[in-house]
């Protein structure tokens, strides 16, 4: 029997990497660590990681193959009661069929300072719980004993994983600060991984090599004429590539509002397998460049393989082709057919779930099932259609070429006039209007020859919400009027997703209450489900006390209930981009009839302001006409994503919007001879 055994040497770090006066050997918790009552650089921290060492390495067993071993040693400081949650640790473990990751060697202790003496409490086995979370995930959780404000916790465990081709993403930044973090990754030369970094932390890993050795005993016959078997001790020597990350004082990652996904900004390193090459064996290639990633995806059965046969929809396609004459009609007909027929089962993925054939028959499927059917039908109809790989907004931005970087697929059709993007997994999308979940920077279009092209997915077209109102202001401050509203593009998409299925009366009640309890009658809606056209609403309304009557004057904002009264940007500064999802415009035109016996005394000044580079603008204009006023207000944000550099400008713009929209207009009672009894207009 051949037995291979790998000998692995423990890492030894040079003493210079230690913070002065601290010993990170397991169990060597110091009094200084126990007496520290606040994190020096951030007094708001409820806990901190004093030290974490994580090493990733490979081991080999004959008949089993390579395994991935991850050692975790962590020391955590608890500053306040809100930090107690960090005394419970959860480790997710992947499983697939009979292969599963497992944890061994778990030990954990809590250290407290009692009357000047360090006291140590051991975690018992009864505090460890293993749960099967889903088909693919186990979870191991444990909680430490005797935790108080000031405690230091320390634990160690090893994860053994049979999934050696996939090294989990290693976070380099947590929700609490880290004092010292050491990551060691050791990979035998047979495996070539590419480290991919993300986040804002400056990190420079140290690269190196060391020798690895496999000692094994083999059985062989010394010569062909002898029947005797000899046992030889043999050795294979190979190179191990090492990478050390040694980082100190990592600030906590703090949430900010209007951020697409905080994890996009978390510093982390991801190891993506490029190829495996054993001696005297052919190279087994994984992904390295975008081209490789895309080729690999395209060649897989669950993706490119799904585009090969169109027999399952042939009959339907022929009908669609027979009924249309132009190319654009055909695209629309195929899109509407797939959108109408198919139903998304809420599962993401660029690889199919059921397979296109089954999905088509059952009329439901995941993202890939549906959009690959769409692609395939368009191709079969002779159009230049191709799938586009996408990473959804909550999946992060794919900054590096990795297969895991994508989780979604849409369709692109190239026409003479440009490229049309299609997604049939939502009932209210249309050509060149993808669901908002898919609007995340760029997609990779894969052509039939396996080459790829980068497509920008961020919408350029401005979605509009326009409101036209004619209002009669009464002498008691109530208003009545007629309103017409229209919503285009993403504004209509959002409207339909929220209200198209809702009961009308229920919707109206919500609309009334959203507008300060106005009473609505004669409601009509057009194009509620006609996706190509803007949603149009009209109604008649009554609303009480929209003007302050003080003495013989009336004060009111000419935007009435429609005014933006609160600046959405409240924080002083901001680190991350402001993500509006799509460019938008809110436009109001109001014709206001003033009450009899009142006359305009003063009105807000007109305003016209814009952000640099035409990123946004705000216009406000009041014109007197006959017995009333016309007010025009136009707020426009032309970019879906605005860099944090412009945060102050954006905040200032919205400050002006709020001020202008809430600014009051003054009316005075006219005396019997028809003139205002207050002296003239101001400014």
């Amino acid at each position: 029997m051949i037995r291979l055994k790998i000998t692995v040497f423990c890492l030894v770090f040079s003493a210079t990497s230690f913070v002065l006066g601290q010993d990170f050997k397991f169990g060597k918790v110091s009094k200084e660590e126990l007496t520290e009552n606040v994190y020096p650089q951030d007094s708001s921290a409820v806990a901190s990681v004093l030290y974490r060492h994580q090493s990733v390495r490979f081991s080999y067993t004959q008949g089993v193959g390579f395994k991935l071993l991850t050692d975790v040693h962590e020391r955590v400081k608890i500053y306040s009661k809100d930090g107690f949650d960090y005394a419970t640790v959860s480790q997710l473990l992947y499983k697939n069929g009979s292969d599963a990751e497992s944890i061994s060697g778990l030990k954990a202790y809590t250290y407290n300072l009692e009357n000047g003496k360090i006291e140590k409490s051991k975690m018992e086995k009864s505090a460890v719980f293993k749960t099967s979370r889903s088909k693919y995930r186990n979870e191991e959780k444990f909680t430490l004993p005797n935790v108080k404000e000031g405690s230091v916790l320390e634990y160690h465990y090893q994860i053994t994983s049979p999934f050696y081709s996939s090294v989990d993403e290693i976070d380099l930044q947590y929700d609490i600060p880290i004092k010292k973090l050491e990551i060691a990754v050791e990979i035998p030369e047979y495996f070539v991984f590419k480290p991919l970094m993300k986040g804002y932390l400056p990190i420079s890993p140290k690269l190196g090599t060391k020798a690895g050795r496999i000692n094994y005993t083999s059985k062989n016959r010394s010569n062909r004429y002898s029947a005797a078997t000899n046992f030889d001790a043999q050795t294979i020597e190979y190179k191990i590539n090492t990478t050390h990350y040694d980082i100190a004082n990592v600030p906590a990652l703090k949430e900010e509002p209007y951020v697409n996904d905080m994890d996009n900004y978390r510093s982390a390193v991801k190891y993506e397998l490029q190829y495996i090459q054993f001696p005297q064996e052919a190279r087994e290639s994984y992904s390295t460049t975008w081209e490789d990633v895309i080729k690999k995806i395209y060649e897989s059965d669950s993706f490119g393989g799904q585009l090969k046969s169109g027999r399952y929809f042939q009959e339907d396609l022929e009908k669609l082709m027979a009924a249309t004459t132009t190319e654009s009609e055909l695209i629309a007909a195929i899109f509407l057919h797939v959108q109408g027929r198919m139903n998304w089962n809420s599962i993401y993925g660029y690889g199919v779930d059921k397979g296109v054939k089954t999905a088509y028959k059952e009329r439901s499927g995941n993202i890939a099932d549906i959009n690959l059917i769409l692609t395939s039908m368009l191709q079969e109809a002779g159009l230049n259609a191709n799938p586009v790989l996408v990473s959804t907004r909550d999946h992060g931005v794919p900054m590096f070429p990795t297969r895991e970087g994508f989780n979604y697929v849409v369709t692109a059709v190239e026409l003479e006039g440009g490229t049309v993007l299609l997604d049939a997994t939502n009932k209210y999308t249309k050509p060149n209007l993808l669901p908002t979940r898919a609007l995340n920077w760029f997609g990779k279009m894969i052509k039939k020859d396996g080459t790829a092209k980068t497509l920008n997915l961020i919408p350029k077209k401005v979605s509009r919400e326009s409101t036209n109102v004619s209002v009669v202001l009464k002498a008691n401050g109530d208003i009545e009027g007629k309103a017409r509203k229209s919503y285009t593009d993403y504004d209509s998409y959002a409207f339909r997703n929220r209200y198209a299925a809702a009961d009308e009366e229920d919707y109206l009640e919500k609309l009334e209450n959203r507008n300060n309890g106005m009473e609505i009658s004669d409601y009509a809606i057009k194009n509620k489900k006609t996706v190509g056209k803007p949603v149009m609403e009209s109604f008649t309304f009554n609303l009480e006390s929209q003007a302050n009557i003080i003495g013989d004057k009336m004060y009111f904002s000419p935007m009435f209930y429609m005014a933006m009264t609160e600046n959405p940007f409240k924080l002083e500064d901001r680190n991350y981009p402001i993500d509006f999802t799509y460019p938008w415009q809110e436009k109001f035109v109001m014709n206001i009839k003033l009450p009899e016996g009142y006359q305009l005394t003063s009105k807000p000044e007109n305003m016209n302001m814009a952000l640099v580079n035409k990123m946004g603008s705000f216009k406000y204009q009041i014109v007197e006409n006959g017995s009333g006023l016309q007010v025009m207000v136009d707020l426009k944000i032309n970019e879906a994503v605005i860099s944090a550099n412009y945060y102050a400008d954006l905040k200032e713009l919205f400050k002006n919007v709020v001020e202008k929209q809430t600014e009051k207009l003054v009316l005075s009672k006219t005396s019997s001879d028809g003139t205002a009894d207050s002296s003239g207009k101001s400014r």
């Binding site: 719980f129 108080k148 299925a501 302050n548 003080i550 409240k570 009051k664 207009k681």
Partner: protein, 648 residues
Amino acid sequence: MRYVITTKPNQTKSMRLPVFLCFLFFSILSLAQYQALALDETLTKNANAVLRLDQMEIEIHSKKEMVVKNKQVITVLNRLGNRHARTALGYDSSKKIKAIEIIIYDKLGNQIEKIKKKDFTDVSAVDGFSLYLDYRQLYYDYTPISYPYTLEFNYEYITPDTGSIPSWYFLGGFMKSVEKSRYSIYYANSALKPIIHEKNLESIRFEKKETGSSIVYTAENIGAIKQERLSPTFGKIAPRLMTKINNFHYKGYDGTIESWSAMGTWIDEKLLAGRDELNEATILEVKDLTSGIEDDLEKAKKIYKYVQDNTRYISVQIGIGGLQPISAIEVDRVKYGDCKGLSNYTKALLKAVGVDSYYAVVQAGADKVDFEEDFADLAQGNHVILTIPHKGTYYWIDCTSQVLPFGYIGSFTDDRKVLIVKPEGGELVRTTSYVDDDNYQHIGASYVIDSEGGIAGNATIKTKGVRYYQHFRLNQDPKEDVIKHYKNQWNNINNLKVSEYSLNDDKAEVTFSETVSLNATNYASLSGNRILFTVNAFNNNDFVPDRYRNRKLPFEIQRGFLDTDEFTIELPKEYSIEAMPKERQIETEFGSYEVAYTYVPENNTVKYSRSLLVKKGYYPKEKYSDYRDFRKETARLDDAQIVLVKNQ
């Protein structure tokens, strides 16, 4: 297109007949039963889904064997109704699922899909806060391909836990109607005859049939209820049944419980006995801690503080552990536990220093739910607290909190009937209530309006009762969160900057005080040579409950509150008052409002005083619009403005 009733061999002869009849009955009806095109409008009004048939059959074979069969057939009318289509079943180690399946019908009632047990996904149930639960779930995610469609969900399980007989809701929730609801219990002998407690059944038409071995409730055509602002929670108004047997088995324990008194004895003898032991060292430690203190209440305060300083909340629920605390000695060793473990531990520590306390089971939550006076069962209650009787008063403490003051329970367990476990038996007692002016807030402020419209000033906020509960956690928050809190609290002041603040948590008086210095540009609006500003800058309450075209449900104010505010406003020098709002008093059955303005010429200031009292109450739907008018008027008055004009 016919469904299968999962039959099982019956234990007794007498039971075979009704089950068989029932099988026949449904077989005949099932032929075109689930078409979804011609439903009665009483069912589709306000409904996104119609429960066509909701049927539960419970068979109690013995004290240790219960079989539960459920059939739910639901027609989903639109996308919003999908969440009402139940496709999951929870279980634990004592509950064995014998059958589970889903059948899908199209709008014509044709069967289009059948999902078998093997197609279901098995996952651990997660409650969001427990470290571990031995509870699992079988579920299936169905993707509808067109609307309307009908989903039939059938399951059957067997369990020895007759201590938890499924209760029954004739309506499963808001916005859901029911065509036919049927709840039946068969029992093997008269000793197993269930006791059924009826709640809110006056709102539906139902039929109850009893034989010597069965009880059957049926109801038909129950319209959907729409949730409305301030309406009582669904549980309070829902027609439902609570069911128990007096001699039961639960997670390895037998019990005989006819009353709350007996329940208390059972908990005391079966679940708590022997669990209050402590080691000598700990007993000495707490004795030392309280040495020299004579008063029991003072001792209890010391012990509560000791528990708060030394333990934390960790929830682990396995088997009877859902009801039984881990022992005090174990909590003492690891210094954590769930509500039961920490309460029992605290009780043991109190006992060690000679102070009596009672373990108390409560239904916790912001919504007040009483234990049913004449119906004692294990299903009521989801939390445990502790009470210390002292000179005729009960002092309540929640041992899972590290920060609450002694004797204060906030809106989590206040003002409701709970079960206290006394050695001589259980007893229902009402916890401390915080109503009307108990929930007090006072804001005293002085601020300056400048000629550019800016505001600058100081505000002092004092809170008590449940208002304290809403504020005192600020003390734990980091500075940036506290400032965010003020920006949100005063979102009526744009461009707000907080320059300084200080907080004080007086736990003895249960009063929280905040002092905040702030300023903002453009608070007042300039209009020509006039300045307009809303006088009530710091407690502008714009709450107006939603208007309903046709209000259906009564409304409830569970606690009420009293706010008093006194502001001094310094006006810009070169301006004088052109218009000032008038004082006003409003008195209603829901509460009262008062506001007054006084100009003090000596220092060009305005004194503003305001109070708003909203009283606890439960009112019929007819009064809703009166209440809405009251709040509309107070919101309007809170928005009143002073107009200043520049001196010529």
